[in-house]
């Protein structure tokens, strides 16, 4: 291991001088002849501070050592509390080379090695070996290809498939997105705008009076209101999703979104770590799915929604066409019965808290608290049972199927070999029923944790064994 360049001490010394010069002027020049107490104490503090800092600079330099070879960077710090940090080169994501005026003067460099999630930076402040610079580049060279952004175009290539959302789906979509409720804020803003110029209040009162008198007008008014809101919902949905287009070409999926502001996304298939089919309660009623891709690419990684209103058939077709390894035909396994018991226990604890709370705030409630408590109890119990019934999982070769949700539903299909680790827990309550939680970790632009709670310990060990087998 080597020390950093000795010039580092000089640099820090200059820094120190720059920092204390103000105090020096204050204590020794401005108040030169002063015999005030604070000046005396200040001078003592000044000496102590300067002495401590200078010793710290020297100790820091002597105790900080580094080693860089073909494979790793190692940095040792601390005099009493020693710390040796080792980082394999492959885990270094960015290398930042710094050369300020002092670096140039002394022919040294400072290098920061930064990890993927920028959680940790190893700093070499000032090193004289400039040949060190290349080592990282040598290692990193082969995967530093930044591909040009491919242009989305309609080739009549045989490998190309084009998907376009169909119109009936769009009409359903406009209902599920609840966009017809847009009429409420829309009409309120219109009303207040017009009200500034014309006195609408008189007209409104007249109108309401006439409606009350005449049933026919009332019905007509309501129908026109409904038609209007549906129209607005349709227009909104078509504007947002009507022009979406998906193009599958060889190993890349292209997505074009939006009508007014279009955006294009290209996703390389091998970077996809998993897919997710999501249903909200309303979408469930209409049989619609939102398809999301989980992937990791340099600038736009994470979860990318492909299209929120696929029907089951369409999503199947899309997945078969675009990602044939991901099969949607899969029989899945429910959680063991004990899971329902554990979840009910948790639900009951939650309910007890709710009942207690509503009992204590009963005085201030305008209505009887029993109704509130009963309603909440029903929701909680329904949620628990529905979450138990909806939670399913299975292993299919290199893929893990994971389905869960309370009222909505999420179906994830994840690749084992793209996961970055596995955590398994078992709380006291769970372990008394021989259950546990398994957590699969993925890295997109942050760590994504996929939990499967209340699964039997046997299944956990089977899953973890399978994971180890598949990542080997």
């Amino acid at each position: 291991m080597k020390n950093q360049s000795p010039f580092f001490m000089v640099y820090r010394g200059i820094d120190l001088i720059r920092n204390v010069v103000f105090f020096y002027l204050l204590l020794f020049v401005v108040n030169e002849g002063s015999s005030a107490k604070w000046v005396d104490y200040g001078r003592i503090l000044f000496y102590i501070g300067v002495f401590y800092s200078s010793v710290a600079i020297i100790v820091n330099w002597t105790s900080t050592k580094y080693l860089v070879d073909e494979q790793k960077i190692q940095k040792q710090t601390g005099l009493f509390t020693k710390k040796i940090q080792t980082i394999p080169f492959d885990q270094v994501e960015h290398k930042i080379v710094k050369r300020n005026w002092f670096h140039r003067l002394t022919n040294t460099v400072g290098i920061d090695y930064q990890l993927v999630d920028s959680s940790e930076i190893v700093k070499l402040e000032m090193i004289s070996q400039t040949q060190l610079l290349d080592k990282y580049d040598e290692v990193k060279q082969d995967d530093s290809h930044l591909k040009g952004y491919p242009e989305l175009q309609h080739d009549t290539n045989t490998n190309t498939t084009i998907f376009k959302p169909n119109k009936i789906q769009m009409i359903k979509a406009s209902f599920t997105s609840l966009s017809f409720f847009l009429i409420i804020p829309f009409s309120i803003t219109m009303y207040t705008r017009i009200d500034q110029y014309l006195n609408l209040e008189v007209h409104t009162v007249n109108f309401i009076n006439r409606i009350q008198d005449d049933r026919g007008i009332l019905i007509l008014f309501i129908i026109s209101l409904i038609v209007c809101s549906i129209m607005i919902g349709l227009i909104f949905t078509f504007l947002k999703y009507g022009n979406d287009e998906f193009l599958i070409k060889d190993e890349t999926i292209f997505v074009k979104k939006g009508t007014l502001n279009t955006s294009k996304i290209a996703i390389e298939k091998h970077k996809i770590q998993g897919i997710m089919l999501k249903q909200t309660l309303l979408k469930k009623l209409f049989g619609l799915y939102e398809l999301k891709l989980i992937f990791n690419e340099d600038d736009k990684s994470g979860m990318q929604s492909i299209y929120p209103y696929f029907s089951r058939k369409e999503v199947q077709l899309f997945v078969e066409e675009a990602l044939p390894m991901y099969s949607l035909q899969q029989t899945m396994q429910r959680l063991p019965k004990q899971a329902l018991v554990v979840r009910l226990v948790r639900g009951v604890v939650l309910l007890a808290v709710i009942w207690l709370l509503s009992f204590t705030i009963q005085k201030w409630l305008p209505f009887s608290f029993y109704w509130l408590a009963i309603a909440l109890s029903l929701i909680v119990i329904a949620g628990v049972i529905s979450s138990y019934l909806q939670t399913e999982f299975s292993i299919a070769g290199t893929f893990l199927h994971l389905k869960k949700g309370i009222f909505g539903n999420e179906w994830k299909i994840l690749r084992f070999e793209k996961m970055i680790g596995l955590d398994m827990h078992s709380s006291f309550l769970q372990s008394s029923f021989r259950l546990g939680t398994i957590c699969f970790k993925q890295y997109t632009n942050h760590v994504e944790e996929q939990y499967l709670r209340d699964i039997s310990l046997e299944s956990i060990s089977a899953l973890s064994r399978h994971y180890q087998y598949k990542t080997k």
Binding site: G78, Q91, L115, D117, S119, D423, H425, H446, I460
Partner: protein, 160 residues
Amino acid sequence: MFMQPQKKLADKAISYWRVQEVLFAVVCIIIFCGLFLIANYFNWFRWIQFVFVGILILVIFACIISWINYPKRFANFRFDFDEKFFYLKDGIWNKSWTVIPFTKIQAVTFGEGLLLQHFGAASIEVQTIGKIYTIPILKTDEAKQLHEQLVHLAIVEEAE
């Protein structure tokens, strides 16, 4: 049923944890007694003093609980590794098992605090994306050896 990691912490782990605990408790007592006296001197609200005393009692209670539980934690803490994975098992009531592929290990840190040095021991930190796993206390030479082994395996796995 689960993979049962075999390697244990250094035998001194329990006394190390307990010394750490006592030091922590002493610092807490000094701080909160100081705060209590300050509150008394400057005639702060009465309830603030109660809060200080309450926190102090809670801290000491927690210390006693963990004092009792240290042997159990020592018995439950295991780690191990093979060519591909690093395993860790921890916890008393809420147990956890961890499997980390060596390809995903970002950094390995060898640490030696003053108290650890007094026990002739050191700690190892294994850093993955988003989380750091710590082996709190190992004999110094064992820790050094482990550090080298882990780094070596991490590098070899990377290359493949």
